[in-house]
């Protein structure tokens, strides 16, 4: 089968949208308080070595996708076990983001609609694009990337008069510990989640460097997250940021330009829909590829429909309510995800280096 390839631009925009995924509306890194900007920057920097691991694996095995790499490195049994673990991780993440999306829609917009309806429609769109393949996903994100950027720029410009820099002072009021906690939080969600992108990518066009893709992606993603969190905290302050479900939505709702341009929350919602669409699709794609790799099918496309349905149902019973969901995203996720996002990739890299060397010797 022909390897589906992405261009550098497409991969980077996919990555930036993925990172901004549900992170743009949920409150992340609230522990850091007024030093949240520092936490975001630190976690972005922390993410760089992790994505370098993926890039290194890509350049070691340029003709394989992630699941194939794992199987090549660890052999059939153990490799498949790792694949299974990652498939679960991608599936679970997809369900989580889907649930975020559902909660968002019914909390801010359509209170009377049953959550299942918009979620199902949304998941069907994801199903469609995953069936079309990663190339279409890449082109799609490349196209919508500019809208995301425009939205970020417009909100920044409109928010300028509302900013209150006092929310960031004094610097390091509570010492460095909360900042580190916030850093760990932001690192785990969203930056280190890019592992799912690694699972979903199948290859890049010739002459494009995986290092550049991952690094630029992380840098631009950091920038987007940084702008959004700083803006939001500067508008509504730390306390509201920590304790609201969707702080960005509340912040933008406060904007009012000359009584005419007001109630702009919808553009936050649009940004969120676009980016979480990319995120759910990527997770779905990674899951389907994982399932196909474990069961040794060449084409993943036929598994998409059942897995989408499974994901919808899972997302539905994963949490009882939005409180539990937020608690999960902030307190449980960083610990739960650590082995998947940091330990396993390093193990895979060590195995990969070793394997590549022994292959070279032969």
């Amino acid at each position: 089968m022909k390897l589906e390839v992405l261009s550098e631009q497409q991969a980077i925009s996919l990555m930036v949208l993925f990172i901004s995924g549900s992170a743009v509306v949920l409150s992340i890194g609230g522990q850091a308080g007024g030093d949240i900007w520092l936490a975001v920057i630190l976690s972005g920097l922390l993410a760089l070595p992790i994505v370098t691991v993926y890039a290194r694996l890509h350049s070691l095995y340029p003709h394989y996708d992630a699941f194939q790499i794992i199987i090549v490195i660890f052999g059939n049994t153990f490799g498949r076990l790792i694949c299974l673990v990652y498939t679960w991780f991608a599936f679970h993440l997809g369900a989580l983001v889907l649930r975020n999306f559902g909660e968002f829609i019914i909390t801010v917009g359509l209170e009377e609609t049953p959550q299942l309806f918009p979620v199902t429609l949304f998941a069907l769109l994801c199903l469609w694009i995953v069936k079309e393949g990663i190339e279409v996903l890449g082109r799609w994100s490349n196209f919508f990337f500019r809208f995301a950027i425009i939205i970020v720029l417009i909100t920044t410009a409109l928010a300028l008069p509302e900013l209150n820099m006092d929310h960031f002072r004094p610097f390091l009021f509570n010492g460095i510990m909360p900042v580190l906690q916030g850093t760990a939080n932001v690192f785990a969600f969203p930056f280190a989640q890019t592992i799912v992108l690694w699972l979903a990518f199948s290859g890049f066009q010739k002459r494009s460097s995986p290092y550049r893709i991952y690094w630029l992606g992380i840098l631009m993603g950091t920038l987007v997250i940084l702008i959004i969190t700083t803006l939001v905290v500067a508008i509504i302050g730390v306390e509201i940021y920590k304790h609201s479900y969707f702080p960005a939505y509340i912040a933008i709702a406060r904007l009012n330009i000359a009584d005419f341009v007001q109630r702009l929350e919808i553009i936050v919602a649009i940004m969120f829909i676009i980016s979480s669409f990319v995120k759910v699709s990527t997770c779905l794609l990674a899951t389907c590829k994982g399932v196909a790799a474990i069961t040794n099918f060449h084409d993943y496309r036929f598994t998409v429909t059942p897995i989408t349905l499974l994901m919808i149902s899972t997302s539905y019973f994963l949490f009882d309510d939005i409180m539990q969901m937020l608690f999960w995203a902030q307190d449980i996720w960083p610990i739960y995800a650590f082995p998947f996002q940091v330990i396993l990739p390093i193990i895979v890299l060590i195995g990969g280096e070793y394997r590549a060397k022994s292959l070279k010797k032969q």
């Binding site: 609609t113 694009i129 490349n142 196209f143 007001q262």
Partner: protein, 489 residues
């Protein structure tokens, strides 16, 4: 069936077997000069130029002297007597029949089983006139006609390059329609060209009456409402497309020429963009994108704003809208769909009517349906504005006139169930579809999803000519520079 050596028998074959019961076939018998050799000419009345046939074929043959004719090699010797610019000697009966049916004359001579096909075509055709479907303010006034020969000459006059090639083919088992595939040898991408030939060779149909038949038979993603094969009636547009490395397919019997590959962005280009000041042309082009957005999205956005997100409308505006909607018995979605339908009916009705009646129709539509419906409290005035805006904007992108209606409807349906969120869902879906279709291997949204400055030059804007130095990248891979740089090499 084969011809014999006797002219009488041969003529009988044609008269009794092949063309029996056909009254427009003419058989003219005469003798060759003073040699007593019998000859016959078969042709179809009204498909040949009679004066030309008489003056250049029959008259020299009947007057020629016997010395100039060698009985052994009779055809080569009379080739010099006949003053026709193109003739060929043929043995096959099939070929002769085809020739006669295509407006050639067949000359048979006693004593041989060969025939000579003389090109004396001369039928009436429409003269070159300004195309009505694509009118321009500035630009050439020529339009293609129904005759493929004339169309080829129109194109050839625009591109006088020996590397411009025409490949003639016949399609349609019964109509035997002539088509010509034209391209510039060193600009066209070989994969695209090969794909075109493969698809055209696969066509098996009894009749091709218009290039639309071919279009549908070679189209990618046949289920998609978007067109992936372009068509034009203007030689200058075709020349422009071919110079960009595209392939043109001319079809006899229609002025509409197909161009492939056709990508989304072409729907927003107009030939006039390239003839006018680049800044104004760029402005126009952006207007078309805006028009596309307005015509597809206004109804859906209006609907979701007034049913789901009233808080987003500034209060004074909201008040006036709800005042206008007071006393309207129907829900907004119903109002929207019915009014939209009425508009489409008016448009469709107007298209095929003679222009005087068309005007009457638009008056009825505008005054009776618009004004009276509002006064009678059937529909609200803002809704009329929305529909009118939608309808007018759809005319800035004539290439997508049909598909836009479908998109609009889908948007409205999604917006009616989920408000603006539904609208965004529908937009996402639309772009998934657009991103997934291809035209002859070229992604449909090429150049629109790119950030390279070079690709923007002829998409969102129309950059000045001195700045556009390269041809579109994905269509032609080779021979990129449009013009050479003046300084250095």
């Amino acid at each position: 069936m084969k011809l014999s050596k006797s002219i009488e028998k041969n003529l009988e074959i044609f008269q009794q077997k092949i063309f029996h019961d056909d009254d427009v076939i003419r058989y003219r018998r005469f003798t060759l000069g003073n040699t007593q050799i019998k000859c016959g000419i078969i042709f179809i009345d009204s498909m040949i130029d009679k004066d030309y046939l008489g003056e250049n074929v029959i008259s020299p043959l009947t007057r020629c002297k016997s010395e100039s004719i060698h009985l052994r090699e009779i055809y080569p010797s009379i080739e010099n007597i006949i003053a026709v610019e193109s003739l060929r000697i043929s043995k096959g009966l099939e070929q002769m029949i085809e020739g006669i049916l295509y407006g050639d004359a067949l000359l048979l001579i006693d004593g041989t089983d060969l025939g000579m096909i003389l090109s004396v075509k001369g039928w009436e055709y429409r003269s070159i006139s300004e195309p009505t479907s694509e009118s321009v303010v500035r630009g050439s006034r020529e339009g293609f006609t129904e005759s493929i020969i004339i169309n080829i000459s129109l194109l050839r006059r625009k591109i006088q390059d020996s590397r411009l090639k025409f490949k003639m083919q016949e399609l349609g088992r019964r109509t035997k329609t002539k088509i010509a595939i034209c391209y510039i040898e060193d600009l066209v991408s070989p994969q695209i060209l090969q794909e075109v030939f493969e698809r055209i060779n696969k066509i098996d149909i009894d009749g091709i009456l218009e290039s639309g038949y071919i279009e549908e038979l070679i189209k990618d993603s046949p289920l998609s409402p978007f067109k992936t094969v372009g068509h034009t009636e203007r030689p200058d547009i075709l020349a422009g497309k071919i110079l960009e490395g595209r392939v043109g397919i001319l079809c006899d019997g229609t002025p509409f020429v197909l161009t492939v590959p056709f990508i989304f962005m072409e729907g927003f280009q107009s030939n006039e963009d390239y003839y006018r000041n680049w800044a104004l042309a760029s402005l126009d082009r952006m207007l078309r994108y805006v028009g596309f957005f307005i015509t597809t999205s206004t109804p859906a956005i209006y609907l979701s704003l007034i049913t789901y997100h009233q808080e987003m409308i500034p209060t004074p505006l909201l008040l006036s809208i709800s005042a206008a909607r007071e006393g309207i018995p129907f829900p907004t979605i119903f109002e929207l769909i019915v009014l939209g339908l009425v508009f489409e009916i008016l448009r469709e009705g107007g298209v095929r009517l003679p222009s005087p009646i068309g005007q009457a129709l638009s008056i009825v539509g505008a005054i009776v349906l618009g004004d009276a419906a509002v006064t009678a409290n059937f529909v609200s005035a803002p809704m009329i504005i929305v529909i009118a805006l939608t309808g007018i904007s759809s005319f800035v992108i004539p290439q997508f006139l049909g598909v836009v209606i479908l998109i609009r409807l889908a948007f409205v349906l999604f917006a009616s169930v989920l408000g603006l969120y539904g609208f965004v869902f529908a937009v996402i879906g639309l772009f998934i579809h657009l991103m997934s279709i291809r035209s002859f291997g070229i992604p449909y949204m090429t150049e629109l999803s790119s950030y390279k400055l070079e690709d923007v030059k002829d998409t969102v804007i129309r950059a000045p000519w001195w700045w556009m130095q390269r041809r579109p990248k994905l269509i032609t891979k080779k021979n990129r520079p449009k013009r050479k740089r003046i300084e250095g090499k």
